[in-house]
Symmetry: C2
């Protein structure tokens, strides 16, 4: 299939294509671990923010409370995290359990290998440049200045 000039010139489309390639490889790398890349991200966020509540986790993952609820249920059912009493009687405090920590370590290893393999054709300097450019993608703020 021909990919015309319209598609080639859209940055958003090319970012999406790159993301699809990386995500497919990451999913394959995690296939043995029974968790999607997004669920692994959730585990990392909970580990790095112990005691966070579900709503905050959802915000960090760009999903709403209800979706965060489902995600947390799955991780709890698998014995990877735990809900503990939170800072008031409404909130849960999420913590990573030892089992989750162990599984996360194994997944991170597979994920790093996938990441390195997919970016093997870029030098360290190019990777730094890429991260910088990606980070600067976002709404133009000139109107609010």
């Amino acid at each position: 299939m021909k990919q015309g000039a319209d598609l080639q010139s859209l940055i958003g489309y090319q970012v999406q294509r790159a993301n699809l390639r990386m995500d497919a490889d990451a999913r394959a790398a995690l296939a043995d671990h029974d968790l999607s890349p997004a669920k692994m991200t959730a585990l990392i966020l909970i580990r790095d923010n112990p005691g966070c509540d579900q709503t905050a986790l959802g915000r960090a993952l760009s999903i709403n409370r209800s979706s965060a609820m489902k995600l947390v249920n799955i991780l709890v059912d698998k014995g990877l995290i735990e809900r503990r009493p939170g800072r008031d009687l409404r909130t849960n405090a999420l913590v990573l359990l030892p089992h989750g920590e162990a599984q996360l370590a194994a997944m991170m290893k597979a994920m790093r290998a996938s990441d390195a393999q997919m970016t093997a054709r870029l030098s360290a300097a190019e990777l730094r440049t890429l991260l910088d450019l990606l980070d600067r993608i976002g709404p133009d703020d000139t109107e609010s200045e």
Copy 2:
């Protein structure tokens, strides 16, 4: 929420974040047009490859025949494309209809504006660099040499 070193160093994660930001803006830009970015991409591919069949379209979009079928049904129902007799009696030839062409033009305009707005903080040279780096993300081929 803290975003620890593990996440910051994963290129795949940062590509995904950038993609999420651009996709959200693109969806908002297309909200009036009743078609997702992926469906707009399908229209572009059909326009640039008139007479292509559903399976080829699916391959270009990284979805299987069955999913392509559903997508094509939606575009046909909206009067944007048409199934015509293909190169043999098994295949359909997909073509963009005038109505689809008009809607695609309007969507491209909105999409280009969104794309430009989200990349406004990058210079033309930086955008070229970004496209080059993104294009080089993919499986390392060294073992097959």
